[in-house]
């Protein structure tokens, strides 16, 4: 037996038994739908590694799904893979059909979003579908059309939404991976930054009646921290299921997050991945035309998005060297002030401190846990990307240590 074989054999998470999975489920209760998704992931882990899915297979599945939902035959043309994102697979195609009203024949450009066998963010397509429905007309985002929640037509759960025209990266600084540290340049920044803040404010103050559409989300109770604890457990469960090795700082962080979980003071629709690189814009007008990647959305505390958008990982130094521009938009404090003005909601320093730690815990769970695991097990179409992203782990761990040291004096 080689040393490498010994190392692999010592990894109990690569082929988890039922007892192992059930113990983690019992120890770290999460939202109901999260439990479904994570349990499915662990079940799949004992299956075969990811095999590249042929484009034709996805087109065929999408066609059958749409025909079943519409009740008549359609035609799909010009299908091709879309780049972008480290997590899900995307195919763009033209649907020739009778249109939304079923009357005139028309051609519509759509996107099929589907999952690989595992991914950096294990998430629920039905939740993503529901949140896109909820924000329709409030935030520019893809319009959802159909969903194959149980992978009846496609190899994995998938959804179809409309294609949004726009770019994620400006032509001047287009080599950044998934928008990390994306610099839009001073001219574009002037136009994008106010929209970045206003849309976040609009999202967090969305009409509560729209949240009724989100049946697969647990709804937090104002004054209680139960929902926050479930969101901490979401990360803990991911870490327990996916990590290649323990990092003792993660255990300290978990204890601290549970002990200090603040009660929810206002239920917001939280995007969960609100940052540069996750929206499309028109490079000429500077208008944000679509917000993407809603798979991490939750109902919860607005400070989660505020601290996420202002993490160093997504920032870059301003041209005059005065400081880091949060998400390539504005200085952190300026962003908080503009947000408070636009939303009418307070920005609470205590909650900011809490979610600064929480978001680093999330990122480390995703990067040093799920991302490392998915590339190790050859489970995605983007293993080279998920492996590359693990390099983000230690800079984030370093920031987390600084925050924790402040708190544990």
């Amino acid at each position: 037996m080689t040393a490498l074989s010994r190392l692999k054999a010592s990894d109990i998470r690569e082929h988890p038994g039922i007892d192992f999975v059930e113990k983690i489920r019992a120890d770290y209760p999460t939202e109901k739908e999260i439990d479904v998704v994570f349990s499915r992931k662990m079940h799949r882990r004992n299956g075969p590694p990811f095999q590249q899915i042929k484009l034709e297979r996805l087109v065929d599945g999408a066609k059958r799904l749409i025909e079943e939902r519409l009740g008549y035959e359609v035609d799909i043309t010009e299908a091709k893979w879309l780049s972008g994102g480290a997590s899900k697979m995307h195919v763009v195609f033209i649907l020739n059909w009778r249109g939304p009203e079923g009357e005139a024949s028309e051609s519509t450009k759509l996107v099929l979003r589907t999952e690989p066998a595992a991914s950096i963010t294990e998430s629920s397509r039905i939740r993503e579908f529901e949140v896109l429905k909820a924000v329709e007309g409030v935030i520019p985002a893809p319009t959802p059309y159909w969903i194959d929640e149980d992978a009846e037509y496609l190899p994995y759960p998938s959804m179809i939404y409309d294609f949004c025209k726009g770019v994620a990266k400006p032509s001047v600084d287009a080599d950044k991976v998934t928008g990390l540290g994306q610099n839009y340049g001073p001219e574009l920044r002037k136009k994008l930054a106010p929209q970045f803040v206003d849309l976040l404010a609009r999202l967090h103050t969305i009409d509560p009646s729209r949240l009724d559409l989100m049946e697969h989300f647990d709804v937090p109770v104002v004054g209680s921290n139960e929902a926050v604890i479930k969101q901490v457990n979401y990360v803990r469960r991911m870490w327990e299921e996916d990590r290649l090795e323990e990092e003792p700082i993660m255990e300290i962080t978990y204890k601290w997050l549970i002990k200090h979980a603040p009660p929810i003071d206002h239920v917001s629709l939280v995007h969960g991945d609100y940052r540069n690189g996750n929206f499309l814009f028109n490079e000429n007008s500077g208008d944000i035309v679509s917000w993407l990647d809603w798979e991490g959305s939750v109902l919860g505390d607005r400070h989660r998005d505020l601290t996420y958008a202002t993490m160093d990982t997504f920032a870059h130094l301003s041209e005059d060297g005065q400081g880091l521009l949060a998400s390539g938009m504005m200085f952190k404090d300026d962003l908080f002030c503009a947000y408070a003005k636009a939303s009418g909601l307070t920005v609470d320093p205590v909650r900011l401190a809490y979610y600064n730690i929480y978001n680093r815990y999330v990122l480390l769970g995703l990067i040093m846990g799920s991302s490392a695991r998915s590339s190790y097990g050859a489970r995605t179409h983007q293993d080279v990307m998920t492996n590359y992203l693990t390099a983000l782990g230690y800079p984030n761990l370093s920031e987390l240590c600084d925050y924790l040291e402040e708190m544990i004096r």
Partner: protein
């Protein structure tokens, strides 16, 4: 004659940069993106392979030091687990003294230490020594982070690379 890994990687990288890359000009963007990441990963390996053994030995030595500190703090409250930790430490010391051992063996024993240290931190919840244990662990882990960050520096994802030493400086004496 057996070519070094450095040569194997160098010739592959040169072929990909000089021959394959220009032929991919019209490829779809997801193909170009993955190609760029393959190049970056292989370049990274080429830089780091000469230092891999030193890194893993240093990391295990560092974990041993943390483990000894943790063990002395929890010994009275968790005698059985402290004894287990002591046994893993003994294996780690033996491994570090064996010249023929593989890098992955350092990882096997290091991961055992990590798991048990994590478990002891979990069990310290509410105990009188909890804060001291958390602080000790934070202090120790933080001390090693500049090296871990420096290791990944060539991949360009650290927002503060200027504050890090170079790997060449870190391992100058090894």
């Amino acid at each position: 004659m057996i070519q070094t890994f450095d040569t194997q990687l160098e010739v592959s990288l040169r072929a990909m940069r000089d021959v394959v890359a220009p032929a991919l000009n019209d490829a779809e963007s997801h193909v170009l993106e993955q190609f760029g990441l393959v190049l970056a990963t292989l370049e990274f390996m080429r830089h780091r392979l000469p230092y891999a053994r030193s890194l893993h030995r240093l990391e295990l030595t560092h974990l041993l030091s943390l483990s000894e500190g943790v063990r002395s703090l929890v010994a009275d409250d968790q005698p059985a687990l402290a004894a287990d930790l002591g046994q893993i430490e003994a294996t780690a010391r033996t491994d570090l003294a064996r010249p023929e051992i593989e890098i992955e063996d350092y990882l096997v024993v290091g991961r055992k230490l990590r798991e048990l240290i994590g478990e002891l931190i979990r069990l310290s919840n509410g105990k009188s020594y909890e804060k001291e244990l958390d602080q000790l662990t934070l202090r120790n882990q933080k001390e090693f982070l500049p090296l871990q960050r420096a290791w990944f520096m060539p991949l360009g994802l650290d927002s503060r690379p200027d504050e890090l030493p170079s790997i060449e400086e870190i391992f100058a004496d090894n």
